[in-house]
């Protein structure tokens, strides 16, 4: 569509403080995500990873600085413009956030029903079947989210996130809380459903192995700042103390 080097998500010196007495959660984050790239923010818990993704989603407003997605300053959009922008988003939440009151099929069909008003019931059904096939879930259409295992829920969440063929997929700790085999599976599925199709992926994680394997750029978040940002190859040989500590704790070094 456009050239590969176009910047699609940009943080310009973003600050965010939740209370006057605490240290700022985000202390001047600047980063750029190129179109079609996989960008992973790594960091220990409580370093502002989830907060930064919420800024890009428009769920939070920065105290100062700008978050620009597809050339638009997210914080300055009105409700309608923000909705328009979000139609190009897919989001895989940390707690997945499937709708409890809807079964698996309806959960995946939900964004389609809301945004593709002209689609017939057959079109919706075949699209949902394709999406669920892609994440290797068949024959559980009628199940409710509470009846599924954590890994299955993640996969349904991924199918729902991809339902509208988003340009950008946001993943908030996609593999946290899963066993290594299931985590591997989720990474493979993210790769297959999104990355292979050229969807830009903005991921936050502390699963360093997966991050190094599928990312184009890896950044280390530390005390509300981007401490270090590099390609996976260079990231792993970094001499930065915190990065080394992090890699060691994950057992990569």
């Amino acid at each position: 569509m456009t050239n590969k080097n176009e910047t699609i998500i940009e943080f310009v010196d973003v600050w965010k403080k939740f209370s006057a007495f605490d240290n700022p959660t985000l202390a001047g984050i600047s980063l750029q995500v190129k179109k079609g790239h996989v960008y992973t923010l790594l960091g220990f818990s409580g370093t502002g990873k989830s907060v930064s993704i919420k800024h890009a989603l428009g769920l939070m407003k920065a105290d100062s600085g700008k978050v620009i997605v597809k050339g638009k300053d997210v914080a300055n959009l009105n409700d309608k413009e923000l909705q328009e922008l979000r139609k190009s988003y897919g989001m895989l939440f940390q707690d997945i956030a499937l709708f409890d009151s809807l079964n698996v099929f309806e959960n995946v069909a939900f964004p389609i029903r809301e945004h593709k008003k002209k689609w017939s019931e057959e079109q919706i059904t075949s699209r949902v079947k394709d999406l669920l096939n892609e994440v290797e879930l068949e024959g559980i259409f009628e199940k409710m989210p509470s009846e599924l295992s954590g890994g299955m829920r993640k996969r349904v969440g991924l199918a729902r996130a991809m339902a509208l063929e988003p340009e950008i997929l946001f993943c908030d700790e996609p593999t946290t809380g899963l066993d290594p085999v299931t985590a591997q599976k989720i990474d493979d599925l993210i790769y297959r459903t999104a990355i292979k199709r050229g969807v830009t992926v903005f991921m936050i994680s502390h699963d360093i192995r997966a991050a190094l394997k599928i990312s184009h750029r890896v950044a280390m978040l530390w005390k509300g700042k981007i401490l270090f940002e590099e390609t996976p190859e260079k990231f792993i040989i970094s001499e930065e103390k915190v990065v080394k500590e992090f890699l060691e704790s994950a057992g990569v070094l």
Binding site: E84, M91, D100
Partner: protein
């Protein structure tokens, strides 16, 4: 102290903006009539049984107490009047509001609260669906329609209960009961009650939805949101009730 006042004002302002935006979203496309009908069914139809039960006994006890008090001065012929007027103007809207706050309001706060703490509201938002439009505005408008309807049913069944106690149990003459009731009852009394009921429906749903919408801290937060939504709804309804009773004309005054 200063901080507390500022916090209070801040959340009150946030509440006003929340309600204002939710009300506006109803008129923005895509319109979701289906959700509106569902909420109407939930607030109205599903409250019907409990409303009929409470109203029959409320009317019955009103007639009974009215009979005991009025017979002291030999005016038991006015039991029909007192039962009817206090029901239609006052007790029907207030009792209906309390029942709806306890039944539907609490359920709304809990449902929206759980959706908030499990990120389902964020999920809606990121899917480019306004949670205010999808979750809140159908509830507010449905309650504005449903609570007056329930109030009307409350009045009707309450008067039947009153009639049964007054005429069959206390032995007031049926003709006198009805005739005295009709003599002092005017349509404005009914409108008085129904207008109040619509205001109460609005108050209950906006407080309950807001409490759920801003819930945090997991299960405990949802619990206290539900709790607060019922307490606040009932307190605000009772306070506002006094002012509305003064402001909205009643039948006798307008005749």
């Amino acid at each position: 102290m200063k901080v507390a006042v500022i916090n209070y004002l801040h959340s009150f302002g946030a509440f006003i903006i929340f309600v204002y935006k939710s009300m506006l979203w109803f008129f923005i496309k895509p319109r979701r009539w289906r959700l509106f009908i569902d909420e109407l069914e939930f607030v109205g139809n599903q409250s019907l049984g409990i409303i009929i039960l409470t109203s029959a006994f409320t009317g019955a006890v009103l007639a009974f107490q009215g009979y005991l008090a009025l017979s002291l001065v030999g005016t038991e012929s006015l039991v029909g009047t007192s039962t009817c007027l206090s029901l239609v103007r006052e007790l029907a809207p207030v009792m209906t509001a309390i029942v709806v706050a306890g039944r539907a309001g609490a359920a709304m706060a809990a449902k929206i609260g759980i959706m908030r703490v499990s990120q389902q509201i964020d999920a809606l938002e990121v899917m480019a669906i306004s949670p205010k439009q999808y979750l809140v505005s159908p509830k507010i408008y449905a309650a504005i329609i449903a609570v007056p309807l329930l109030t009307a049913i409350f009045s009707l069944v309450g008067n039947l209960g009153g009639y049964i106690v007054g005429v069959l149990l206390c032995g007031i003459d049926s003709g006198i009961y009805i005739q005295k009731m009709r003599e002092f009852f005017f349509p404005m009394d009914l409108y008085h009650g129904l207008i109040k009921a619509a205001c109460f429906g609005f108050i209950i749903t906006s407080i309950s939805c807001y409490k759920g919408y801003v819930a945090k801290n997991g299960a405990e937060g949802v619990g206290s949101a539900t709790n607060e939504s019922v307490v606040y709804s009932i307190v605000v309804v009772l306070v506002v009730d006094y002012f509305l009773s003064v402001l909205i004309p009643t039948g006798v005054l307008t005749q």
